[in-house]
Symmetry: C2
């Protein structure tokens, strides 16, 4: 099936919109006659991992659940396109056994042996290529690359002489040490200013590229504390970051994983769904008659409760009644800063499989790695650009091709581009969450608060791997648990204990 | 409530059996009239974390479930005794956000801020004390302690020049690199022989004490591959091991966590249970009439399926019909090697809070740390002994007190001992699973196999954090998922997709 999402370019076809994905659901609904199947126990808005998890948990527990999704597919900001049987990850990709929620599901769905490493350092172009200006390249072994980045990132994170362990001992409880707030309020740029004299020019370029790869914002609008939070979640080491952030992916693509949740939920017989159904408003009139969700096309759906999994940057497109809290509105208005451009390039040099590169700051793609070998035997490179030097990949393909070529000039020809422009996606308005300075300390609690019959759940305000697939599952799990408690069987706990 | 399990000694009371715990369930059953409430969908045998998880998942999904537990309490090999409001961990203790299954539950039960670090390096006796013979002590800073152990453990684990990452890239898929088998078949002693020339005497003593702390067996009967598996799960670093194995514990004790599973399961109204009910036999006559579980007292219970969570070393005490597979019998006969003696000592030197020590090989307790401050202001030390120099702590309390005293001679008086002798516990016959050389490669698959209407589930044969609370939850999750699929609503997946 082909999704409306995503773009592909080849020299033969030029740019085309829409790419094939296992995540497309067909038919798009199992409701025969609008409204006739309601009311529901719960309406889940959004079929990303958060909504899928909530839907799965609720339907398994026997609740009559309706899933409304604006797109034609499951997975939200994490989905894969299968082209000639080869998966390109359009959004969230990597997973690790140190990510508790996603790994629990991977084990539960017996997919622990369905993973492959992105890196493969056994081919010809087996080095790291650092380009800090258009005219030269510095080549290093991957060991030297690790050492360069380890050294730089450790200087960046070592605010307490204990690699962040003292200031952030419990990353799920970020302000356990209240002084952590000051780092949350600090930008990348401010932190770099503190350590600039300790950084060699190469360290500084590699560091900036790496931390911008994480935020995909600008140095001035990315929260240093949010990076420290990723760092702590990863075990306070650069190697831990590499392991958790960019090493292991699903052999068959993310959408093979998302389908497991989907199939389990459908299998309960408790799920109804409508895809291609963006929501216009959510009204809880507090009459006790339930929450009314109105689609853009005018259809109305009513349930006892709603789980709203719409991302932070999109929340303001929905009308809520009663009005949202001040904290939530303030966070929505601020928004997160991630304006990632993620571009896959199939290139005709097989040996680039073992290549990694940083091309910063002059290029519109700043960090890339050899990520696989395509069925045609070409190398698949995955390349990232950030808001610091922004690229809209479909607007001018020649510019995109130029940015890809700048990563390793003269080394390859491009056979194919595949990407999803998250920035112009009306249902995402950016990629994974990354906090502005101060946003988390000011708004995290408010974003997690209950709003009448509506539970807001999204990886954007998860406690642990916020921004990650893991955080989405954390939040979907939380939402379902809250509603299990509220709507579940009357408790006889006291009598029985 | 006071459990029959555990021992306490004070100078005033001497040795007494049975200690208070929040894990004790009262009344011990909610079945009024034997057998009248059956048949059940599922009988879960064993109320440790594995059985609790399976029970919770099954009851939440609406299955009529019966939990049979031999003891008077939940938690199995992980439970805490609250004495004057202070928790002593009698078995499994430490958790970390890199342990996926347990952390998923900690977040789901909102206990991410109910943890405390065991270590507190802010008090007077702030050093590491290494004693390799009865007459001398070597004192080091904790930084030097970490460096000593890091260096030694890295030499031990670095079999591939890549800190184990090459030989064990996917720890949940242990034999992904088939050559890993040779390390699984290798004993600690054999591996030490390979590196003995690289180890200083202090490194060797610290290493042996540390790896024996993990296996609680002997150098000759502990699998080196199993330690490598822990190492890979921990992120292939000594610091990762320390973080995951011995750093974060529940502020209120393990039993506060176990109760969350219990209360959720009871709250569904689908749970019946009988404590103090050891099982004699499990018979699946393959007639399609279900599986019959007979208790030692002769009571019979019948269900469509059984989840048997009895530990490896106890399995042979139950009669199974049809007979168990050759692999399972062979594994049962071999057994695991963990003969841990874990002894808590309340000592009258407040400043010992920041002390750590290794006293090896001459002492019957070889590894200990300051683990807390008791309500009386004394230091709580947690001390471990292994099968390499075995202690049965209740047999001769004077010998136990002597072993505690040898850790730091002249530094304290003992006000209280608290412990559970897992070795003599008929429902455990050892502490957490630790493999003999070759046991995992030969038997892991066989231990995980289905046996007619019976699903065997236990942390002893988990894929990930085998031996840990995490592995117990992994296995309970797996068992419930298998039965959800088998007993769940008829699937309409094909028609609906």
């Amino acid at each position: 099936m082909t999704s409306r999402d995503g773009f592909q370019w080849t020299p033969e076809t030029g740019l085309t919109q829409g790419v094939p994905s296992l995540g497309v659901i067909s038919p798009q609904t199992n409701i025969k006659d609008t409204g006739s199947d309601g009311p529901w126990d719960v309406i889940v808005i959004g079929g990303g991992y958060c909504g899928l998890t909530a839907t799965r948990d609720l339907t398994v527990a026997g609740f009559k659940t309706l899933l409304l999704e604006a797109r034609d597919r499951i997975g939200g900001r994490s989905w894969s396109s299968n082209i000639d049987g080869y998966p390109y990850e359009m959004g969230g990709t990597w997973v690790h056994w140190h990510q508790s929620h996603v790994w629990r599901e991977i084990t539960r769905y017996k997919m622990h042996n369905a993973l492959s490493p992105s890196f493969n350092f056994s081919r010809g172009v087996n080095h790291f290529q650092l380009r800090t200006n258009p005219s030269t390249s510095t080549y290093m072994t991957h060991e030297a690359e690790d050492e360069l980045l380890r050294s730089a990132v450790e200087k960046f994170t070592n605010v307490d002489g204990n690699h962040g362990r003292t200031i952030l001992p419990f990353p799920h409880d970020m302000f356990y040490v209240p002084e952590f707030r000051k780092y949350d309020e600090m930008s990348y740029a401010q932190r770099i200013e503190q350590i600039q004299d300790e950084l060699s020019p190469n360290e500084r370029a590699a560091l900036e590229s790496f931390i911008l790869l994480c935020s995909c914002g600008k140095l001035e609008n990315s929260s240093f504390g949010e990076f420290l939070h990723w760092w702590a979640m990863s075990g306070y080491t650069y190697q831990g970051c590499m392991d958790c952030l960019i090493t292991y992916k699903f052999t068959g693509g993310q959408s093979t994983f998302a389908r497991k949740f989907w199939e389990e939920a459908v299998g309960t017989g408790k799920l109804e769904y409508v895809f291609g159904c963006p929501v216009r408003s959510v009204v809880d009139d507090e009459s006790g008659n339930g929450v009314r969700v109105t689609a853009r096309d005018g259809r109305e759906f009513v349930a006892k409760r709603v789980v709203c999994t719409i991302p932070l940057n999109v929340l303001s497109t929905i009308q809520f009644s009663p009005a949202l809290s001040k904290e939530r509105i303030s966070a929505m208005q601020a928004g997160h800063v991630n304006m990632c451009a993620k571009v896959h390039a199939e290139v005709d040099n097989k040996d680039m499989r073992s290549w990694t590169g940083i091309t910063y700051p002059f290029n519109k793609l700043c960090y890339a790695i050899g990520d696989g070998t395509t069925p045609a035997g070409n190398t698949h490179l995955v390349c990232f650009g950030t808001d610091a030097n922004h690229l809209q990949p479909e607007e001018d393909v020649q510019e995109t091709l130029k940015a890809v070529g700048e990563l390793a000039p003269g080394q390859f020809g491009v056979k194919r581009l595949v990407f999803h422009n998250w920035v112009k996606d009306e249902f995402a308005k950016g990629a994974w969450f990354f906090s502005r300075p101060g946003l988390v300390s000011e708004c995290l609690e408010g974003l997690r608060e209950r709003h009448g019959g509506v539970v807001f759940a999204n990886s954007d305000w998860a406690l642990g791997w916020r921004s990650f697939i893991d955080g989405a599952i954390e939040e979907g799990t939380r939402a379902a648990r809250v509603l299990l408690e509220e709507l579940g069987p009357k408790k006889e706990v006291k009598a029985r204990l």
